[in-house]
Symmetry: C2
């Protein structure tokens, strides 16, 4: 089986042959590996290529080329909204993402965000800039209620870490089956009631028509005034204008956002200066020390599953914009 | 047994009779309670007083008064360095602190600090102020090494939470007996080697002659360049000038300090503006929602222990500046 890894020329973290060699001892099917950064390298193997590994950047431009043997496209990101619509995917080819590779890092970021909100860190950072020693009050996170919206790899890891920290976790997902770290898991139809009964919300959702502005003004207004929101999924799942309005009015405790409708966040955007809003530049999920090994490991897992005729854990559902099995 | 609670007139969180009533069902000894905010109230019960409950503020001024029955002084703080030297304590009277009441809150603050350092939050806060979308890299905290210096109530809770988050924890305490959340516990004589072999340091020490500037320039220089320090004990256990020098020189990854040699931290102090240094105004430990109930609960535990003739868990060792049994 010929696997071609197409790295971007400027990729800060390309997948190298050495990365592959560290993982391929676990492979249950003989593979030949090709690695390249330009379309010529892709063209050289296109006629025999069975598995293509690539980031979403430039992928759409590669695939009109003739690839008669291609069966799998493994994308080295988790959120593939950038590739929609998926009309570029040749018929009969299965799309996979690397969901899982970022889960622990992103879950830790969510916990950091919750702790920063409950300790009032945005206001304390402001006081530090002005060299003001203020009277400040933080509270204990353990025992508070957390709603994790989206229980994929990142949401699931978030629920697990939060439970270990003593939070009481409720999950929200399309199909509300139980999760070991959640006291309850409810469907999207129960989201309104769940928002009214929580202290914190962690958003770990892909962006699709059904998640666009899922947290809008009406829904965020259901939250208690001390509530906090952390978003590590996709920016457009929150109505940013409504969120900034609520924070400006003191009707929410705080928010920590790593993702935005427009990235990079434009210099004049009000999110930069909204009180009690922490902005980070889409860095919550990737740990450069671990993401490549984790990604290659997930690829190997999926190739082994395919060899055994088992369902592919990372098969991507282009209609729902998330994994088939999440 | 007569217990008098002496609240400060301006105390934001006094212990009220209602607070006491919630806890006293667990008491194994009949008690009479008196509550007051001025010396006159104290004087009215001084001749019969057996247990005095007070914050350190103003305590020294009360005790020259005649209290022939006094056996216990329970101070509603954990760090009692403000009361040293302890020559004001009448002979035969046992001093107790409320160690334990702040442990979980402070442990959560330490975790927040570690997550902020490993995610580079000070630099990202700076970028947010300038509305700059930067290329940023965070890393995963799980799997890193944490040295908890001081394994009292706060240090112990910190070790426990950190272990639950997947950190590999080593403890440092005067008497190096094992702790369930620590892979190893070493004595102060092994501190230098432990600093060279860790990624992060959490300081949870009282201040005394033996802990003054425990982290000095030489010891902090043993840490790797990516290392981070969080201090929730007492400020003077770190040489602040040396810490700021190391951060200025980029020889440490970051620090989060909630305590300082001089509090309030003076407006012109360089800590306010040192890069990668987060300053908070001594708020890491107290949760106003829980500290009173926790404090009264600890008082009840100690009164019950005394009634049974058992060692008092919160007995304070004035020579070591910490609990006898920590």
């Amino acid at each position: 089986m010929l696997i071609h890894v197409h790295n971007r020329p400027a990729d800060a973290a390309p997948i190298t042959r050495a990365d592959w060699d560290r993982a391929c001892g676990r492979l249950e099917v003989p593979c030949e590996l090709s690695v390249g950064t330009d379309p010529a390298a892709f063209l050289a193997v296109a006629s025999r290529l069975e598995v293509l590994v690539a980031s979403p950047v430039g992928l759409r431009e590669l695939l009109p080329l003739q690839t008669p043997q291609l069966r799998l496209v493994f994308v080295t990101w988790a959120g593939l909204d950038r590739l929609a619509p998926f009309d570029w995917l040749p018929p009969g080819v299965t799309l996979l993402n690397n969901s899982g590779a970022q889960a622990l890092k992103a879950a830790e970021y969510v916990l950091m965000g919750l702790l920063m909100i409950i300790n009032g860190m945005p206001a304390l950072a402001h006081a530090q800039r002005e060299a003001r020693w203020v009277t400040a009050v933080g509270r204990t996170l353990a025992g508070r209620r957390l709603l994790v919206v989206g229980l994929g790899a990142i949401g699931g890891a978030t629920a697990t870490l939060a439970q270990r920290m003593g939070l009481r976790v409720t999950g929200v997902r399309t199909t509300p089956r139980p999760h070991p770290a959640c006291e309850a898991v409810v469907g999207l139809d129960a989201l309104d009631a769940a928002l009214a009964a929580t202290d914190y919300v962690a958003l770990a959702l892909p962006h699709s028509a059904s998640t666009h502005h899922l947290l809008d003004l009406r829904r965020m207004s259901l939250l208690p005034a001390h509530a906090g929101i952390v978003n590590v999924g996709r920016g457009a799942t929150i109505d940013e204008t409504a969120l900034c309005d609520l924070l400006d009015a003191g009707r929410l405790g705080g928010a920590v956002l790593d993702v935005f409708e427009t990235e990079p966040l434009p210099p004049g955007h009000r999110a930069w200066t909204t009180p009690n809003l922490v902005v980070t530049p889409h860095m919550s999920a990737d740990d450069p020390d671990t993401v490549i090994d984790a990604t290659v490991g997930i690829l190997v897992d999926n190739l082994n599953a395919r060899q055994r005729g088992a369902p592919l854990p990372n098969e991507f559902d282009v209609a729902r914009g998330t994994r088939v099995r999440s």
